[in-house]
């Protein structure tokens, strides 16, 4: 027998053909998209980008260290926006998730409504919510808090209702068999099962929200984004680098903090 007969192949011929087709389509689409973007780009600016970028970095030094003191209040506001925004979202998403989960939803119409709330909230980012809310409520921390919570409701509810749908039905039946009411069945059989993942989701969302709340200030909704906008529009790069450093350390801190809490609770 020739050696060729023993050659091992990872994939069948049909599969290889399919993959070639897939890759061709993907690459064609990429070239097509790239051409559109390229046509809308002023290339000399891009070629110049590296030089501009390095110049910009140079202008950031020496950093304006005393500016740090002025940032304490905006940083506090940023944390407040993230915390209260998450808290409001978590409370609201308890209801939404309960309505959206197939096994706890009282009516299929309510379920559709809850799913619509989730999709709407997830599709529109907090900055856009912030633009709308600043027009209505005026600039300030409150607009930021509501913007963050409107964006978070969908995220928290989605993860929560998915974990409600995955619970162990036997425990629900066991509690039901004791003759408990609908409400106490929920409290004693569903809640304990989803609680750990719920807290994990909430803390994780808080961590994401710290990042998000650093930008809602750009449109006037409070927090450090306002100072960032001022520094960049005013070309105050030595201030901007201090802001970047503050954001970086805040995000790192929140990541460590949320990892620690999740470890303790779960």
């Amino acid at each position: 027998m020739s050696k060729k007969d023993y050659d091992w192949q990872l994939k069948g011929t049909r599969r290889i053909l399919k993959e070639i087709l897939f890759w061709t389509a993907g690459i064609w689409l990429f070239i097509y998209c790239w051409n559109i973007i390229s046509a809308r780009t002023i290339w000399p600016f891009v070629y110049d980008g590296a030089e501009q970028g390095s110049k910009l970095l140079m202008r950031m030094f020496p950093p304006n260290w005393p500016y740090f003191i002025d940032l304490l209040r905006p940083i506090w506001d940023t944390i407040t926006i993230a915390t209260l925004g998450t808290l409001a979202a978590v409370l609201f998403s308890l209801f939404v998730a309960f309505l959206a989960a197939e096994n706890t939803s009282p009516h299929s119409l309510l379920r559709q409504l809850a799913l619509l709330i989730i999709v709407t909230s997830r599709s529109v980012s907090s900055l856009i919510w912030a633009i709308i809310l600043v027009i209505i409520l005026g600039p300030g921390v409150l607009a930021g808090i509501i913007a963050i919570s409107l964006r978070s409701v969908g995220f928290v509810s989605k993860l929560l209702y998915e974990s409600i749908e995955e619970i162990d039905k036997k425990q629900v039946e066991a509690v039901k068999a004791t003759g408990s009411s609908k409400f106490s069945t929920l409290i004693y059989s569903v809640v304990p099962q989803v609680f750990p993942s719920f807290v994990g989701t909430a803390v994780y969302r808080w961590d994401i929200n710290i990042r998000e709340s650093t930008v809602v200030g750009l449109v006037g909704a409070g927090g450090i984004g306002l100072q960032l906008n001022e520094a960049i529009l005013g070309l105050k790069w030595p201030d901007a680098i201090i802001i970047f450093m503050m954001i970086l350390s805040l995000v790192l801190f929140s990541e460590l903090f949320s990892a620690k809490i999740r470890k303790v609770l779960i």
Partner: protein, 268 residues
Amino acid sequence: MLTESSGNYSWQRPHLIKNKNKRKIIYLLVLAYLIFTFISLRVDPQRILLGLSRSQKYFGDFLRPDFISRWDSIVDGILESLTMTYVATVFGIIISIPFAFGAAENISPKPIYYFSRAVIVISRSFQEVVIAIFFVVVIGFGPMAGVLTLTFSSIGFLAKLLAEEIEDIDWTQVEAVKATGASWPQLMTYSILPQILPRFIGLSVYRLDINFRASAVIGVVGAGGIGTTLNAAFDRYEFDSASAILIVMIAIVLLGELFSSFIRTKIK
């Protein structure tokens, strides 16, 4: 226990924090923090009342989405967002692979590990909008700034999650392939890649979805896409057009979600 009369013994659900004193201190601290933040809010009720009375008109406009008068710029913005999303995700995937391997503790040498982790931390720490501001300043307005922004933030996301996946692989398979005398590239393709590929495809599709959503925001600071159109609508107080744009965006995100769940069930 049975000898005790039932009146004396009632069952209570276990508390979250076992230690009684610790629990009290933690609850008090949380309460104090919340009270303090509420005091520091500085809400101006008069401004809110003014805004609410004005916002009735806005809400009315929001409920009557106007797709027609800005239809051309909506289509143009959406197309630009979609092209930006696709190009940036492709770039992000390609660049994130080496960083993912570099950031996996079990296969990467220490100096490369720390370098890759630093890149990931920087990429993940800054929100897309902050990165977009930087790129708009450096290379000017337009979709290219958006592509660079989305690429940069995709790298951190994909590399971090992929690196975690590589760290979790089944090492016995790697040893089995190693025992056949495979070279390093062969080791990667036949023992590590098959283990992480399903998750990698899932993550890439997920990131495509995130990038589309993000492409709508970075336009607000001038980085192209539907966000530019949306911001223009807000600036002109054309809430009916803004509402139409938001509806189109929600519809596309919904389609994207169906597409990504379809792909994910196929991989499984």
